[in-house]
C-alpha cells in the first residue's frame, strides 16, 4: 500500500486531499511533524491562502528545509495550488518574501480583464481541471515538463520533473481525470525515486 503523508501547515484544508488518496487505496497521514515528512514515501504539500502566510507556516516548523532536502534526494513530492507557488522563487502577492526556489519562476496575478479568482474548470490537454486561484506562473521553466491552460493568456497548469509533480489546479477535485493524474504520479515517482 502506498503511504502518503500530507503536510499540515495549519492554513490548508486537507480533507479533500485525504479523501482523494484514501479513495485511491493509499494509507494517508496528515502531519505537522517535519520528521514524519522527511521519512515519508510520498509527500503532498497542499495549500490555500496567501504566499507570505504559506512560507511563514512552512518556516515556523522547519518544513522548508525538509522539502528542499527531499527534492534534492529525488523523493516523491506533490505540490497543489499554493503548494506549487511556494516551490517558486517569489510572488507578487507577498513582495519581499522568498519562496523555496526549487522552480525558477516568479508567481504573478491574472490580468485584471479576466475573472479573478478563477473558480472552475479549465481545459488541460485532453481533460479539464478544477482551479481556485488568483495567481499563477506564465510559462514552463527550463528543466521542467508540463502543460498549460488559458485564462487571459497561457499559464502553467502543472509541472513535473523526476519524482516531483506541481499542480496549479486541484487534482483532488478534478474528478476522474484528476484521479488518473495522481495514480500516474504515484506510479512514476516511485519508479523514478528508486533509480
Amino acid at each position: 500500500m502506498n503511504r502518503v503523508v500530507i503536510i499540515d501547515t495549519g492554513i490548508a484544508n486537507t480533507a479533500s486531499v485525504c479523501a482523494c488518496f484514501t479513495r485511491l487505496g493509499c494509507d494517508v497521514m496528515v502531519t505537522d511533524d517535519p520528521a514524519a515528512v522527511r521519512d515519508a514515501e510520498f509527500v503532498v504539500l497542499p495549500g490555500v491562502g496567501r504566499f507570505g502566510a504559506g512560507m511563514r507556516a512552512l518556516q515556523s516548523r522547519g518544513f522548508d528545509r525538509v522539502i528542499v532536502e527531499r527534492y534534492e534526494q529525488g523523493l516523491p513530492l506533490l505540490g497543489i495550488c499554493l503548494g506549487l507557488q511556494l516551490l517558486c522563487t517569489s510572488s507578487t502577492e507577498s513582495e519581499g518574501v522568498a519562496g523555496l526556489g526549487l522552480i525558477d519562476a516568479s508567481v504573478t496575478e491574472f490580468p485584471c480583464e479576466v475573472r479573478t479568482p478563477q473558480h472552475g474548470w479549465n481545459r488541460v490537454g485532453d481533460g479539464y481541471a478544477y482551479y481556485s486561484n488568483s495567481y499563477r506562473i506564465e510559462s514552463i521553466p527550463a528543466g521542467w515538463s508540463g502543460e498549460l491552460s488559458d485564462h487571459g493568456g497561457p499559464f502553467v497548469a502543472y509541472l513535473q520533473r523526476g519524482a516531483t509533480l506541481a499542480c496549479q489546479f486541484h487534482p483532488e477535485l478534478s474528478g476522474a481525470w484528476g484521479e488518473r493524474l495522481l495514480v500516474s504520479w504515484l506510479k512514476r515517482s516511485q519508479e523514478v525515486s528508486r533509480c
Binding site: 492554513i11 484544508n13 480533507a15 479533500s16 479523501a19 482523494c20 484514501t22 479513495r23 490555500v48 491562502g49 496567501r50 479576466v114 475573472r115 479573478t116 479568482p117 478563477q118 473558480h119 472552475g120 474548470w121 479549465n122 481545459r123 479539464y128 478544477y130 482551479y131 481556485s132 486561484n133 488568483s134 488559458d150 485564462h151 486541484h170 483532488e172 477535485l173 478534478s174 474528478g175 476522474a176 484528476g178 484521479e179
Partner: protein, 253 residues
Amino acid sequence: MLTQRIIPCLDIDCGRVVKGVKFANLRDAGDPVEQAMQYQADGADELVMLDVSATVDGRSAALDTVRAVRRVLSIPLCVGGGVRSVEHATDMLRAGADKVGVNSAAVENPTLLRELSEEVGSQCVVLSIDAARSTTFEGWEVVTRSGQNRTGVDAVDWARHARSMGAGEILLTSFDNDGTRSGYDIELLSAVRRATPLPVIASGGANHVEHMISAFHCGADAVLAASIFHDRDTTPNQLKQQLAQRGIEVRQS
C-alpha cells in the same frame, strides 16, 4: 478557457435531502450520499449543500453528512446554511467542504467574512445573498433567516462590497423565484454582475436550458438548480450538450 459551471444543490435537513418552495413546505427527497454520487456521475461540476436544519441536532448531523459526501466526491463541495461563526465554518471545512457559504451571519456581523478569509483564504469564502424585490425601495433587498427577515440592505450594494469584505465568490439566490421554476431573476443578476468582479453563481427559479443560457449571457459564471435535478427532468450532462450547441463553453465529461 474557463468553462461555465452547472451546480446541483442539495438542501439537507437532519441528514436527509429535502426540497421546498420559497424555503418552505419541505418534503423528503432522499439520501445525500447517493444523490451526490449520482450528480457527480451525471456531470455536475460542483455541488452545493445547504443545511436547512433549525435544530442543534440537525446541525451536527450536517457535519456527518459533509464527511460522508466528501468520501465519495471528487468534485468541489460548497456547504452553507446557518453558518454563524468562524468556528462553525472551519468545522465544515475540516469535515470536507471546499468552500463555505455565509448568509444571515454576514449581514448581522459584517466582519465575519473578513475574519474567515484571514483564517482560511478568500477562495474558501462564498457570500450567499438571498435577494427579494424590495417593498420599500426600487431594487432588491437582502433577506435572511430563510426569508423571514427583510434586512433593508440593498442586495446590489451588498454584492459590491463582497470582495472587500473577504468573499471569493457570490451565490446569488432570487427569493422571489426560488422553487417556482419561472427562470432566474435576470434583472437582479445583471445588476449584481455590474457591481462586482467576483464569480457569481445564479440561483433560484431554473426550469430549463433557456433559463441557464439567459443567466450565462448576463454574466453568470455558474448556474445552480435543485428541483429539475431532484425530479430527474434533466441531468447536468444533458444540459451541457444543449449549452455546447449554443456556443457556451462547458466541461465535457
